[in-house]
């Protein structure tokens, strides 16, 4: 594993993989958009607005996924001093930040027609906003110094501190009463592990007519809606990897450029 921590070695492999990732990612997103926007049915409650899900859910997943990548890279940089870890963290941050913004904006636009409000300060929405601020903080801190290498360590520590927010986002809808729905895809699993928050509906006490509604805990997504969501999830994940490799190239080149410049400056003049 430590063999790939060598940035040169890693980039050689990454450059070979990149065209394949792009070649897979574009048709996946194209198919996801076709099924998501055209060839899938409207929802029985939400109508056409349900199509926002096909953008909102993948970006939410990747906003958190990119942060996990960033935290793992930062940890490997802090523990083993792998320079690659820091480069990966620096490359993942702006991509995750953009996914986070798209997630918050699409969620807000989705909230207005379904809930009746653009924004509410519930645990899920607030923790997602904190994630955005963590991205802003990381980007500011990592680039705050004239010599970027001095920002490596503080930014890595910030990335690790912020990682406690990730399970908070994921499980906020199980720990607290929120307006945001619980997970549709992993609902059965999380519901079984974490149960319901305090004030949740107690199904056993419900009259028969409402019990049918409460029996729905765990969520349901019909196959014709699951297909575009999965296509978009896979497509967006590959797009993230492609962007990550492209940004890594840039970071890698800028590090080499800096060390070359430092080398020139160190050399005696007029030789």
């Amino acid at each position: 594993m430590h063999r790939f921590a060598n940035p040169g070695q890693f980039m050689r492999v990454a450059d070979k993989v990149l065209p394949w990732i792009v070649a897979l990612c574009l048709p996946l997103i194209a198919a996801g958009l076709y099924f998501g926007l055209y060839a899938s049915p409207p929802d029985f409650q939400q109508g056409e607005t349900v199509r926002i899900m096909y953008i909102h859910v993948p970006t939410a997943f990747l906003a958190q996924g990119a942060y996990v990548v960033m935290a793992l890279g930062s940890a490997s940089f802090l523990i083993w001093k792998h320079p690659l870890g820091d480069l990966i963290a620096r490359s993942a941050a702006p991509i995750g930040c953009v996914f986070c913004i798209i997630c918050l904006v699409t969620g807000s636009l989705w909230g207005r027609p379904t809930w009746g409000t653009y924004w509410v300060w519930d645990a899920r929405l607030t923790s997602m906003l904190i994630l955005l601020f963590l991205y802003f903080g990381y980007l500011a801190l990592a680039n705050a110094f004239d010599d970027p290498a001095r920002g490596d360590k503080p930014a890595a520590i910030l990335a690790l501190v912020g990682v406690v927010n990730i399970p908070l986002i994921k499980f906020s809808v199980y720990f607290f009463n929120t307006l945001h729905q619980k997970s549709t895809l992993a609902g059965d699993l999380f519901g079984a592990v974490f149960g319901e928050p305090e004030a949740a509906v107690q199904a056993e006490n419900l009259p028969a007519d409402l019990a049918a509604a409460a029996a729905q805990q765990g969520g349901d997504l019909p196959p014709e809606m699951l297909l575009p969501l999965m296509l978009m999830l896979a497509g967006f994940t590959l797009a993230f990897l492609a962007l990550l490799i492209l940004r890594l190239r840039g970071e890698f080149a800028s590090v080499r450029l800096r060390s070359l410049r430092a080398g020139f400056r160190a050399e005696p003049r007029g030789a």
Partner: protein
């Protein structure tokens, strides 16, 4: 045994080991601190109170708060003034009557989860809402499938799932309009 193993490590490897332990412990302690804080502040982080908490008097008197639960089936009606909507929010154990002057969200229907912001109006325990939001659950279904179930009489309003031979009427909500 373990002493000799530590002694055999190079100083660099030992420093790496120390950093690993430091980072892992740091994240664990930070996570524990966050978890404890949030558990202590649970009632502040929760967006709404359930009807049971309201009936049991867990909400400070005169406070503006949110109440959340399901709309009791058939409970919604428009009062004589033609403006005020009245419906019952229930969690199965307790019920609270909510009044609201305004247009209800389009997802509002019998059996739907709702979250309303307002105050308890009087001793009778009526909740006067300033804002009513619909709480969408994690169930999605094609509109056509629901239409088909309604035609076949196997659709139950409020439930996301067809109930065999329920034959529930699913006319227009009297509160809407």
């Amino acid at each position: 045994m373990s002493d000799t193993a530590v002694r055999r490590r190079s100083p660099a490897a030992q420093r790496k080991r120390m950093r690993l332990i430091l980072v892992v412990c740091g994240v664990i302690f930070l996570g524990a601190a966050t978890a404890l804080t949030l558990t202590a502040l649970q009632s502040n982080v929760n967006l709404f109170f359930g009807p049971t908490e309201v009936v049991e008097g867990k909400v400070p008197a005169g406070a503006t708060f949110r109440i959340g639960g399901l709309v009791e089936i058939g409970s919604c009606r428009i009062r004589g003034d033609g403006v005020t909507r009245e419906f019952v929010v229930t969690d199965g154990a307790n019920r609270v009557t909510v009044t609201y002057e305004g247009i209800l969200p389009s997802l509002f229907r019998d059996g739907q989860g709702v979250v309303a912001l307002g105050q308890l109006a009087d001793a009778a325990g009526e909740f006067r809402a300033e804002e009513v939001l619909a709480k969408h659950d994690e169930t999605y279904m094609p509109a056509e499938a629901v239409e088909a179930m309604k035609r076949a009489g196997t659709w139950q309003e409020g439930g996301g799932e067809p109930v065999a031979a329920a034959g529930a009427p699913s006319g227009a909500n009297p509160c809407k309009g």
